[in-house]
Symmetry: C2
Subunit: 216 residues, 2 copies
DNA sequence: GCGTAACCTTACGCACGAGTAAGTAGGGTG
DNA sequence: CACCCTACTTACTCGTGCGTAAGGTTACGC
């Protein structure tokens, strides 16, 4: 009719449309017809290029996840101090989410609630948690050299802490995704305060216990 | 056939079954037939007692949310110190999630990803965030009386912090829901350390800034 | 200028699952 | 014992939406 476009271009248009529709409707309620229509193409083209609904969703997932990872990795200088690395990573992360709210909703909500894709996502997530845990450990080692550590931490503790931090970040990101007016930079600052001050205190061996308010 | 049971009993059986199926399959993929079968009853009974699929899901949501709220409220002594209140609340919260993993998955994942129910859930969540924010503020006032505060905090800061904490807790709870072996008590301890030590440091006016590692 | 391959369409089959109509059986009350 | 109300069933209708068969059209190589 109007324009005949090469495959690669159409594929991106389809993925754009799919991410939008999946984000707004949810995986099941999203219809292939609506995705096709929004992409300005007919349904069989979607099947021809990107396969059935599952495969299409996975393609969305992978594209968005890759973009996110690249954005974060691109924002971090590996030679910087741990807190600077964290700060730059968080800035890049929240900036990305702020700019790709639909993508984030697909990644974080849809993929998670569909048992079929939860595994795929859990894997990506686990990698991030490990990176954060490694960052914490490196910060800890650094602090140890400065002679500030009082409680030796076990690997599981780093992992659990990293899990909690990642969860907190996701939660803030999720909030950001639904609040058009929120500034990603400010969200990142909040997260950084939240994480670093707490982490620093923890790394100095301060521990909360049930019997008294604080020790260390 | 076998047993004729009073309505109230059947309703609970149906809700039990519905929570399980919604949790395992997701809202859309869950079929009324499967729910009915698992409840040991035929489909029209479900419609007769609890209405259409939407209403059934909402009924699940409300039952689980109410139970959760009651469990947490029952665990907290309002006269205790803020950190003790928090500790008891977290203990009750994680204990509940550990004991009702299916219910938690329905609340946290399904409701969230279905735009139709997201609003309902967001309301419940907002109430929790407000409670946590109030707890933080009361802790802050208490600290202020002790003359430890150096940076005056604005209401938005409490809210954002509360949001991050709630997100971290949800994230840990979500992890707990998927890990049969994890002990809820330990999860609560981790969260408490994470929250309280960080919060205490923040309340003492320690702030992270981009230019230097720390101030205060 | 003509084949052919890539791009693109309309129009359908078909399964699955929500919701219902119509009717059966048990147990309490007169 | 006749009544009736509540618990319960089988056996359907019908919409919705995934996936496809079969065919049309543009661009490009030779």
């Amino acid at each position: 009719m109007l324009k005949r476009l090469p495959r690669v271009v159409r594929e991106q248009q389809m993925l754009d449309a799919a991410v939008k529709v999946f984000s707004n409707r949810g995986f099941h309620a999203a219809s292939m017809d609506e995705i096709a229509e929004l992409a300005g193409i007919s349904k069989p083209m979607v099947y021809a290029y990107l396969g059935a609904k599952d495969e299409l969703f996975l393609a969305c997932l992978q594209r968005e996840a890759t973009r996110l990872m690249e954005a974060v990795a691109g924002g971090v200088r590996p030679t910087a101090r741990p807190d600077e690395q964290l700060w730059n990573g968080l800035r890049a992360f929240f900036a990305f989410v702020g700019a790709h709210r639909d993508g984030w909703r697909v990644l974080y909500r849809q993929a998670r609630s569909e048992p079929r894709f939860a595994g795929e996502l859990a894997g990506m997530r686990a990698r991030i948690v490990e990176v954060v845990a490694a960052l914490l450990e490196s910060a800890c080692v650094q602090a140890d050299l400065a002679g500030r550590i009082r409680t030796p931490a076990r690997p599981d503790d780093f992992l659990a802490m990293a899990y909690a931090y990642v969860g907190a970040a996701e939660s803030l990101a999720d909030w950001l995704a639904d609040h058009e007016e929120e500034d990603p930079e400010q969200t990142a600052t909040r997260m950084m305060n939240f994480v670093w001050v707490g982490a620093d205190a923890l790394l100095q061996g301060r521990v909360w216990r049930a019997d008294r308010s604080q020790a260390g």
